[in-house]
């Protein structure tokens, strides 16, 4: 099993959720986050006082998938979140040791 962590532009969140639903992913966790990458922040000016906003708002999506689904899921997210402009975000994939469904106690891929 793999854990996919995708950081995307907030306004692309719905497209990503839809794309993942279409390939049969049954659940995701979303967090509003801030960060920086190659996309530069911006400056704000209040009565002459300049503030550099380094951390831009992004949406972080966490989704656990079976190994067989990985490629498809990554492709779905990449396609849905792509605008072609700097700041589209990143996808991180990590190994996932165990998953437990709390209600039934099922474990492993059964619990996904």
């Amino acid at each position: 099993m793999k854990l996919i962590t995708a950081v995307v532009k907030p306004f692309k969140l719905d497209d990503v959720r839809e794309a993942l639903s279409d390939i049969g992913v049954s659940g995701v966790t979303v967090t509003e986050v801030k960060g920086f990458g190659r996309q530069k922040g911006h400056t704000e000016l209040y009565r002459g006082a300049e503030y550099v906003v380094d951390f831009l708002p992004k949406a972080k999506i966490e989704v656990a998938v079976a190994d067989t689904m990985l490629e498809q899921a990554v492709e779905a997210i990449t396609k849905a979140a792509n605008t072609g402009k700097i700041g589209d975000g990143k996808i991180f994939v990590t190994d996932l040791e165990q998953v437990v469904r709390i209600r039934t106690g099922e474990t492993g891929e059964e619990a996904l």
């Binding site: 000016l45 009565r47 002459g48």
Partner: protein, 465 residues
């Protein structure tokens, strides 16, 4: 506004009148005009709207979210404290005869004022009820100290704010109001000798001929200087120029500025005390100056900083309103636009360039907008009042006509007002801050400042999201 006042107690009963004046027409005792009275009631409510919630939201939006309630609370409670002090002794010290700097104690606790008491206006034999004059002037006395808190926002103890305001109101606001506005009213100006005698009892700056229609000097320079002295003595906020101290809600600031703008028609037009033709000129001047200053500020920002901002627009409107305040009864409409454009550009310069050059932390620009805008307005009044520039000139109550206008002389008189106010308010403020610092202490601890004044000083938070 400026003023006045003679109390007429109507002793003549109907029966006596009938007996005494049986042979002639029964004279009508002086009474207030109902239209003027209605307008003054509305104007007073409008000025209250300027303070709560107008000024509170204007300032509140500019601080960080953790200090929002401290701004709202300071303005709200200062308003309430000043209202009570005004009734106890403020009105009497500002608006009864005394010396050229302080009035007397004849009307402490509003003693002797009845529903039939009258206050003079700017027309002979025209009066408004004294109670509404008391209330209208109360709102001015209440907003002025509240303006000061913008200079030292986000770092001062609530108890220190209240103690400072009590001292400053007593020794700076009241004497400035007396110096600029106290006179016996126009009825006494029957001939040159009587006029001289009447003027000799007026306030110091009134005698100097300084014009201040609605409080450019008494309200704005007075508060602005107190703010400047405050932010110099209290010091900068933690993180000034290092951390983000950006406004938490420019939306709130826009709402506040808009309420100030609307309420200012009560402030300026109400200062005419009569609902007459001059009142409509004051209205137009107030409208045009604020619009012009908004455009000037936004244009300056757009040209020099690249983007026109909402905060700039809101600041410009307030700067224009401040600058037209002393001039609104003497400028013509084009003079008002000129004054507004100048104020918008100069205040933009003062908050963006002057402040960073001198390095003081006037958090919400109480000095940069009210102090500087007030000085621009006070001196500018001497220019735009000139009939040759479309102004009304200055009325001569003896000749009952417009007096010959001497621009240089008038600007000199205006400079007397500005200079006196800077020195007086500066000195009183310095001493008052020192007293407060030695007693309750001015500044909160670093820990409190980091946590925010809302939760530390008031035990609540503005937003639960």
């Amino acid at each position: 506004m400026k003023q006045f006042l003679t109390t007429f107690i109507l002793l003549v009963l109907l029966g006596h009148a009938g007996f005494s004046f049986a042979e002639t027409a029964v004279p009508v005792p002086p009474a207030a005009n109902k239209g003027d009275t209605a307008w003054m009631i509305v104007a007073t409510v409008l000025v209250i709207l300027m303070v709560i919630p107008g000024l509170a939201l204007f300032y509140g939006g500019m601080v960080r979210a953790k200090n929002m309630l401290s701004m709202l609370m300071q303005v709200f409670v200062i308003f309430s404290v000043m209202a009570i002090l005004w009734a106890i002794y403020g009105y009497s010290i500002a608006f009864t005869e005394g010396n050229a700097f302080f009035g007397g104690f004849d009307k402490v606790f509003l003693k002797g004022i009845t529903p039939d008491s009258l206050a003079a206006t700017f027309s002979k034999a025209v009066y408004v009820p004294e109670y509404i004059y008391v209330a209208f002037q109360l709102t001015f006395a209440a907003i002025t100290p509240a303006l000061i808190v913008g200079a030292f926002a986000e770092r001062v103890k609530f108890s220190a704010v209240l103690l400072f305001m009590f001292i400053w109101f007593t020794f700076s606001y009241l004497p400035m109001a007396h110096m600029v506005w106290y006179w016996t009213g126009p009825d006494a100006y029957t001939d040159a000798a009587a006029a001289e005698a009447a003027t000799a009892t007026a306030g110091f700056l009134f005698q100097k001929g300084a014009l201040d229609f609605a409080g450019g000097t008494v309200v704005h320079i007075n508060a602005g200087i107190a703010g400047l002295v405050g932010c110099l003595m209290i010091g900068k906020r933690i993180g000034y120029r290092k951390e983000s101290l950006a406004p938490h809600s420019v939306t709130m600031t826009m709402i506040g500025a808009s309420l100030l703008w609307v309420g200012w028609f009560g402030f300026n037009v109400g200062s005419n005390l009569e609902a007459n033709g001059l009142a409509t000129l004051v209205f137009v001047n107030t409208l045009l100056a604020s619009a012009a200053a908004t455009l000037a500020w936004v244009a300056a920002e757009w040209l020099l900083r690249g983007k026109p901002s909402m905060l700039g627009g809101a600041s410009g409107a307030v700067a224009g309103l401040v600058a037209i305040t002393p001039a609104c009864g003497w400028a013509g409409p084009m003079g008002a636009i000129f004054l507004g454009l100048a104020a918008g550009a100069i205040c933009f310069w003062s908050v963006t360039m002057l402040k960073s050059a001198l390095g003081y932390d006037d958090s919400l620009d109480a000095f940069g907008v009210h102090g500087i805008g007030g000085i621009v307005g006070a001196l500018g009044t001497g220019i735009v009042a000139s009939p040759s520039l479309g102004g009304t000139g200055v009325w001569d109550y003896v000749a009952n006509g417009v007096a010959e206008y001497n621009m240089l002389g008038q600007i000199t008189s205006q400079a007397w007002g500005v200079g006196t106010c800077i020195i007086w308010s500066g000195a009183v403020s310095f001493i008052a801050y020192k007293i407060v610092d030695m007693t309750v202490g001015l500044r909160v601890s670093e820990e409190v400042e980091r946590a925010g004044l809302d939760v530390s000083e008031h035990g609540e938070t503005a937003y639960h999201i």
